[in-house]
């Protein structure tokens, strides 16, 4: 899969983000590469500490010290020329145009990501005025239209309300209105429904799908929830401790997961309607601290298919299978001894 075909909007190549703390270097993102296609939804699946949020933030160059993008490229293809966001100076006009104008982000906590002292209208207007050269009246109309588009009742009235007057679901709708006010081509959605109730979650997911079809935007959907990802994404990358362990289309993720971690994750969740056994297949152990990553394959201490002498010594490299899926595991590496063919 070439990173530069015409359909790709953003390609990330060998991204490394490290945090230099007093306790040592935390390798939060460790050689991540992926491509987001235009109008597509790429899901990023992982548990806390796997680097999925840091990946999202680094696409907007929002990594603060002691964090740093150590190396890699983040190439944005949405403008006339290719733009490597990593190379842009941090205050450049181009970067500011991309941030919010071309690539926007929504967060998990709608409570803390809105400013409590400004009205909802004010915060939507801020985004419009910053990026677009329009009159105040036109900006106001755009903001009202946007609030209506995200399904808020009486958008004229919402313009004048403060965040504390809105419920969690309505705040997330305001956040989406701010993010989409300038019609970005890519939306980074970092666990946007995790803090919401299940009926509100269903509303927000449906809204995002409608808006995506309407505005033809791509979404990078970051979540830990297998149910949500099944609903939203066409392609998925599974992350574990700063690395992509598997990249697959959504059907194969559930039908035939490849990496032992992905398989274990799928077996460990209780599913509605299955009452076959009383026990869940739990994954052994705990996610290691990112400051203390195991040698070799980072999943080997918890892996049911652990091969001594191989997994704890050598680090696996990503293997591309014939159907285009990618997995980083020795089980699929035919150059190595001890390979098992799981496909049969």
């Amino acid at each position: 899969m070439s990173a530069h075909d015409a359909s790709s909007l953003l390609s990330v190549e060998d991204l490394h983000v490290h945090f230099h703390t007093e306790q040592g270097t935390v390798q939060a993102v460790n050689g991540v590469s992926f491509t987001v296609g235009r109008g597509q939804t790429l899901g990023v699946l992982g548990e806390s500490g796997c680097g999925k949020s840091v990946t999202g933030f680094s696409l907007l160059r929002l990594i603060r010290p002691p964090g740093r993008i150590e190396r890699g490229r983040i190439v944005y293809h949405g403008l006339d020329t290719e733009l490597d966001l990593v190379q842009e100076p941090s205050g450049s006009a181009l970067l500011r145009q991309v941030r919010g104008g071309e690539i926007a982000m929504i967060f998990q906590e709608p409570m803390t990501s809105l400013d409590p002292v400004y009205t909802a209208g004010n915060q939507v207007l801020e985004a419009i005025n910053y990026h677009l050269d329009v009159s105040q009246a036109a900006a106001w109309d755009m903001a009202v239209t946007m609030l209506g588009k995200v399904g808020l009742p009486e958008p004229q009235r919402i313009m004048h309300t403060y965040p504390h007057q809105l419920s969690g679901g309505m705040r997330q709708r305001v956040m989406i209105a701010i993010a989409l006010a300038c019609h970005p081509q890519l939306l980074i959605a970092d666990e946007p429904t995790t803090a919401l109730d299940v009926t509100t979650e269903a509303q927000i997911l449906e809204l995002l799908q409608e808006l995506q079809a309407d505005l033809q935007m791509a979404i990078l959907f970051i979540t830990h929830d297998l149910g949500v990802i099944a609903e939203m994404a066409q392609e998925v990358i599974v992350m574990y401790l700063g690395e992509i362990v598997e990249r697959t289309d959504i059907e194969s993720l559930f039908a035939e997961p490849l990496h032992p971690y992905t398989r274990a994750l799928l077996e460990s969740i209780p599913r509605l309607g299955t009452r076959d056994g009383r026990r869940l297949q739990a994954i052994e152990g705990i996610v290691p601290s990112p400051a203390d990553i195991p040698r070799g394959c980072t999943f080997h201490p918890r892996c049911p298919d652990f091969m001594p002498g191989l997994c704890d010594v050598h680090a696996p490299t990503p293997q591309t299978l014939t159907d285009g899926r990618q997995v980083q595991c020795f089980l699929y590496d035919d150059q190595r001894p001890g390979v098992r063919n799981l496909q049969s």
Partner: protein
């Protein structure tokens, strides 16, 4: 799975918890929030009752009432003690309450804020034993060691502080502390929702092992329906302070009788991309319990609502096989369960 034959451990009858709401500088009383408004249920010995609902429905308040964190406005909570017979938690005096609180323990959602960061594991797990049973020295130490082993932690953890543990390990510590006084009932309020997916399964398995081993009963409060289905024998669905549906888990999930339950089940994102989704998207949001809608609180969001629903509050009525539902049209509606949505 008949519940009528099982011996009840906790019986809640018409429990009400109304909080006064004040306004202005003098906090003049302007109304009440009916956080819990007349709920009844029974938890048999060794069984799990799952209490589900969205935020603000009163499920956490119910749990707090059982431990008398709040003193309920009305109703009875009977704890059927094997030695002392039924004790009403709502009316209990200090000494009785101290006794009941040994028998009923709580596990909280957030293992980061429910452990004192300045106490060692031995102090945390040992404190209830020291205070209530006067244990000290080697006896205390031996019991703490035993408890740590039971929840799957290494004995070497004794002298460490909570910060040295991950979320899942901390939740094990919270469970060890809850077990220390050999309780009969554990009120578990969202015990796995703060944990990572891979850790959730470990914790759920542990809770089930402990139930088998000690014959514990659980009131399992959660919003995650798949977790509740997995762990509960019976389920009660709450909406704005009332139970709208209750019954054996498989019945409530397979053949829900209340439109809210059905919509809730269909809203859960399912981990299978290929299935055709007949999702019922509820309009609007959970009403404010300070100002609930008239009649059936669910009527503004219910697609089957008729005029009667706006005026008359439906009562929870038996619908066969231990299944209860509070809907005027429960008999005429045919609602999709988890098989169909």
């Amino acid at each position: 799975m008949s519940t009528s034959s099982a011996t009840p451990l906790l019986t809640v009858e018409d429990l009400r918890m109304h909080h006064p709401v004040g306004a202005g500088m003098m906090q003049r009383r302007t109304g009440v929030v009916k956080a819990v408004d007349g709920i009844s249920f029974t938890i048999p010995i060794g069984r799990t009752l799952g209490l589900v609902g969205e935020s603000g429905c009163g499920k956490t308040t119910t749990g707090h009432c059982i431990l008398r964190g709040h003193t309920p406005t009305a109703g009875r909570i009977l704890f059927h003690d094997p030695d002392r017979g039924p004790l009403d938690i709502c009316q209990a005096d200090r000494r009785t309450l101290a006794y009941i609180r040994q028998k009923v323990q709580m596990v909280f959602q957030d293992p980061y804020s429910s452990l004192n960061p300045r106490m060692t594991v031995q102090e945390i797990v040992g404190e209830p034993l020291r205070v209530n049973q006067g244990l000290s020295g080697p006896a205390l130490r031996a019991r703490v060691e035993e408890l740590l082993t039971v929840v799957g932690l290494h004995v070497s953890a004794m002298n460490r502080f909570p910060h040295a543990f991950s979320g899942g390990q901390r939740q094990r510590l919270v469970i060890a502390r809850a077990l220390s006084l050999r309780p009969a009932l554990i009120v578990a309020d969202e015990p796995v929702s703060a944990l990572d997916v891979s850790i959730q399964a470990q914790t759920l398995n542990l809770l089930q092992d402990l139930q088998e081993r000690y014959g514990l009963s659980y009131l399992f409060i959660a919003h995650d329906l798949s977790v509740v289905e997995h762990i509960s024998d019976e389920v009660a669905v709450m909406y704005v302070g009332r139970i709208v549906e209750m019954g054996p888990t498989y019945q409530v999930f397979d053949t829900p009788r209340h439109p809210y339950t059905s919509a809730l089940l269909s809203a859960v994102p399912r981990p299978s991309p290929s299935r055709t989704h007949q999702r019922i998207i509820l309009q609007g949001e959970v009403p404010n319990p300070a100002n609930p809608p008239s009649g059936c609180a669910f009527h503004p969001r219910c697609r089957y609502a008729e005029d009667r629903c706006r005026h008359e509050i439906p009562v929870l009525q038996a619908a066969g096989d231990g299944h209860k539902v509070a809907c005027h049209f429960a008999d005429s509606l045919s609602l999709p369960g988890i098989g169909q949505v």
